[in-house]
């Protein structure tokens, strides 16, 4: 199986055959409503995020940019359900997950989100296939089914022949491909990529970005945090953060014609 064969994940993408009519009729799958996150540091309260609102529709490709300290990481942690906002609502797949408890958040992460990290974060004692299976294990998917799905996604990212290698036997680019397969295996609503090419040389980085482009073409929703404007240019939307607030949302290089910029708050 190749990337193109796996393409028909969403109706919109399928009907378009690549140049999807990414209109606003596509459903909103992720919505931040005035989310705030503050920390208590010593005697001071630091507002890492100070009222952020935006909507992500199914099949969108977003890049989040900003200087360090702008609240990028905090926003990514909140979007990834690794942290809870101090205030505001965060709707993921229609449910407000802002006030869920730890176990429920873990379940949401396992079912609705796929993570791609800068440093790959593979588990070293597991093989490629077992690494890809990890999210399925925590959802209680039977071993045989998990194995089949992992195998399918390993092939999808071009690692079908290396499924029994350990992470340290692979190159950086291959490791990141494993991580991408792991992010896809649970068929998440959104893929969250944090500087996915930060630890790779530029050629390998381009390969990985190409892979993400393909996934986007197939209709997957991607949110990517980066500081590299050329990478951000591959997205449809670029959200610029500054001092915990949205500075502006602008169309990226892949911005479809005729669709206006979503309202910024």
């Amino acid at each position: 199986m190749t990337v193109s064969e796996l393409g028909d994940r969403t109706d919109n993408a399928a009907s378009a055959g690549g140049g999807a009519p990414r209109g606003e009729e596509r459903p909103v799958i992720l919505e931040a409503r005035d989310i705030r996150r503050s920390y208590r540091m010593g005697g001071n309260v630091v507002h890492a995020l100070d009222g952020v609102s935006f909507k992500v529709r199914q099949g969108d490709y977003w890049a989040i940019m900003g200087q360090s300290g702008s609240g990028k990481s905090t926003l990514l942690n909140l979007l990834g359900c690794l942290d809870r906002p101090t205030e505001g609502a965060y709707l993921l797949g229609g449910d407000d997950v802002a006030q869920l408890d730890d176990d429920d958040l873990a379940e949401i992460r396992g079912q609705r989100l796929g993570f791609i990290f800068q440093s790959f974060n593979l588990i070293l004692q597991l093989t490629v296939l077992e690494n890809i299976e990890v999210p399925l294990f925590y959802q209680g998917i039977p071993a045989r089914e998990a194995r089949e799905r992992a195998q399918r996604y390993a092939e999808l990212v071009g690692l079908g022949g290396r499924t029994h290698h350990r992470p340290l036997e692979l190159s950086g680019g291959q490791q990141q491909r494993v991580a991408i397969a792991r992010a896809l295996v649970n068929e998440p609503l959104v893929i969250l990529a944090d500087e996915a090419t930060g630890n790779l040389d530029s050629a390998t980085g381009r390969e990985i970005l190409g892979l993400l482009d393909q996934l986007h073409v197939q209709g997957r929703t991607i949110i990517m945090v980066t500081h590299d404007p050329s990478i951000a240019n591959r997205a449809e939307w670029v959200l610029r953060l500054k001092d915990g607030k949205i500075d502006r949302i602008e169309p990226g290089g892949k911005h479809p014609e005729g669709v206006r910029v979503p309202e910024s708050h």
Partner: protein, 426 residues
């Protein structure tokens, strides 16, 4: 559910194999703790069983008084007074026998025994055997069994008959090829008719409590012994001659029941203390010795429990220490797993299972070693050992318990990490 557990176990094994030396060293604490407990229990159990068997041999309802040559120290005045031209006079007397028989209640049998070494011969074959003069009741107070023929009878004693019942070793040496019954043998120059043979008491109890060979013995009627040989025993040593006069070497008193033993023992002690100014009699109570062995066994077990507790505690602390280090080292892995959907309980079970695998593997190898050590000890040190399976189970169970107790804290610590912090950890 089960497959999830098995997969967690498999994962734990793989994580442990990632650091083989470290895992092995961590296991050693538990391993040696369990091995030493199992081995020491087996050796202790064997020793006490052996001791118990020896004392049971003497008869648990018996109270045994024995003549004892007074030591040189206590030989001062009373000892000198007892010395006459014929040599040293000491030990139990027929008077003692009569007093015990007549004054002590709760007694079923009182049997006197006089034993000396005599050359014994049949034809050209001869053996230096212990000659024991006693009465028919001896059969009731000692663990002896007739193989062929009969034991001594009342009339043998009344008639002062020259009849003898011989032990297995004497039979083997004097009558290797023929039936000894109704044959005559020479004991100390007198002729005795063999009327019976004893069954061998060989095996573990071959050397009895006193260390003499129980099978190398001839029994004759006590009255016959008195008539034929008198009470004077001549001993030759290093060129000088000494004689000693002992009427009875042993008086065996059999109590009516186990409950009566302590009172009978006290009464026998009181009577003998009154009749013997010199310290020339000792009283052995097998039941008391048994109790002592049991008491020692209890103390031994308490000491073992303490050692086991300490060694397993130390082992457990070692395990906890390593697991805490492991948790810190794998902070990033924990963060990743949490991000990929692991709940706290998943993380807890992962690390708990890992600790359990470590401690029960140590426990299993320890059990194996603990069974092997007594085996080797028994083979090379000629000590009886008894591996008790409940002890093995207990030791292994404790190793598993150590895994849970000392694994819980590191596992909780791993689970309570903030996923964001854990992912940021270098």
């Amino acid at each position: 559910m089960l497959t999830t557990f098995l997969r967690t176990v498999a994962l734990g094994v793989r994580s442990l194999l990632l650091h083989k030396l470290r895992s092995f060293l961590t296991m050693l604490g538990i391993l040696f703790g369990v091995a030493s407990v199992v081995a020491m229990l087996a050796i202790g159990e064997g020793a006490s069983e052996e001791a118990q068997a020896k004392f049971l041999e003497l008869g648990s309802t018996n109270v045994i008084a024995r003549s004892r040559k007074p030591s040189a120290d206590s030989d001062s005045s009373a000892g000198m007074a007892a010395r006459n031209a014929r040599g040293v006079i000491y030990g139990l007397t027929f008077k003692d026998l009569d007093v015990i028989r007549g004054t002590i209640s709760g007694v079923e049998r009182v049997v006197g025994v006089r034993s000396v070494l005599k050359p014994t011969a049949h034809g050209s074959r001869n053996v230096e055997a212990r000659l024991s003069g006693t009465t028919e009741d001896f059969l009731d107070v000692a663990r002896v069994e007739i193989d062929r023929g009969r034991f001594l009878t009342t009339s043998d004693n009344l008639r002062r008959a020259n009849v003898t019942v011989i032990g297995e070793e004497v039979r083997r040496q004097l009558f290797p090829f023929e039936d000894p019954i109704a044959k005559h043998i020479a004991i100390g120059g007198e002729s005795f008719e063999v009327v019976g043979t004893m069954r061998s008491r060989g095996g573990a109890s071959e050397k009895n409590f006193e260390g003499s060979d129980e099978d190398k013995v001839c029994f004759i009627p006590l009255a016959t012994m008195e008539t034929r040989f008198g009470f004077i025993d001549m001993q030759r040593s290093a060129g000088s001659r000494s004689t000693e006069q002992v009427e009875l070497h042993e008086v065996r008193v059999r109590a009516l029941s186990l409950d009566a033993v302590p009172d009978v023992a006290q009464a026998v002690r009181d009577v003998l203390k009154r009749l013997h100014e010199k310290d020339d009699v000792e009283v052995i109570v097998p039941l008391e010795l048994l109790r002592t062995v049991e008491e020692q066994k209890r103390i031994w077990k308490a000491v073992l429990a303490a050692i086991a507790g300490i060694s397993l505690l130390v082992g457990g602390i070692g395990v906890m220490n390593v697991m805490l280090a492991t948790v810190t080292e794998r902070t990033r892995e924990i963060g990743v797993r949490r991000a990929l959907g692991a709940k706290k309980r998943h993380v807890i079970s992962q690390f708990l299972v890992e600790t359990l695998v470590l401690s029960t593997a140590g426990g299993a190898i320890g059990v194996f070693l603990g069974i092997a050590i007594p085996f080797v000890v028994e083979h090379y040190a000629d000590m009886k050992t008894v591996v008790r399976w409940d002890a093995v189970g207990l030791a292994f169970g404790i190793s598993a318990l150590v895994g849970v107790v000392f694994g819980l804290y590191p596992a909780m610590r791993a689970a309570s990490m903030d996923p964001v912090e854990a992912l940021r950890h270098e």
